[in-house]
Symmetry: C2
């Protein structure tokens, strides 16, 4: 969010779609990173104040839309299963942050530009 | 929305905030343009399948957040009042579309860039 004249600011969002469905956006990438950190979908969800059901749905959606799974889950075991981020998942995380950084630059530039044009 | 590899596409949204509240976004600008076309908030709302209440709230929000009103309303009269877009409203419309056009260029460029990096 950048300041334009007075306290106006330009803000934006960016995401990746597949066939018109959201594939990767800000919330999904944060979820992937939390899964990577905790090795568990339920712990990742809890850390974000997200329901397990919602986190599971997002993971399912990403895995379904991707050519290769972004998250692999293991069921059972003493710890009640776990989850890891695949190489494809790592690529998706990188791609999104690259896009996100560029959006921030874009917003900053627009801020300067619109300020010049409209002030 | 632009095509990346396979049928992935990068999409985005951009809007102007004031003090953290949405001031001008896509829907609000379309509403302003319809008000300009029809000279009436209720007809503008109807043309967008939006409730009159919602349209009125959006107009109130924009007028409140702007230094000068974007929409001026006249009550009463045979036609039951009307609404016009002020010069400030025209500026807001122009500013938003300028921003929006730049976003489309940004998305197109990102599409090309991310394609190169990640394919």
């Amino acid at each position: 969010m950048k300041k334009t004249k007075d306290n106006y600011s330009i803000n934006g969002r960016v995401w990746i779609e597949k066939d018109g469905d959201t594939y990767i956006g800000y919330g999904r990438v944060v979820l992937l990173e939390r899964i990577k950190k905790y090795g568990s979908i339920s712990m990742a969800a809890r850390s974000m104040d997200m329901s397990y059901r919602r986190a599971w749905e997002l993971v399912e959606s990403m895995n379904r839309l991707s050519e290769k799974k972004l998250v692999e889950t293991r069921t059972g075991g003493r710890s009640g299963g776990g989850a890891i981020i695949t190489d494809e998942g790592e690529r998706a995380i990188k791609l999104f942050w690259s896009l996100y950084d560029d959006l921030k630059i874009f917003l900053k530039e627009e801020d300067k530009k619109q300020l010049e044009i409209f002030s």
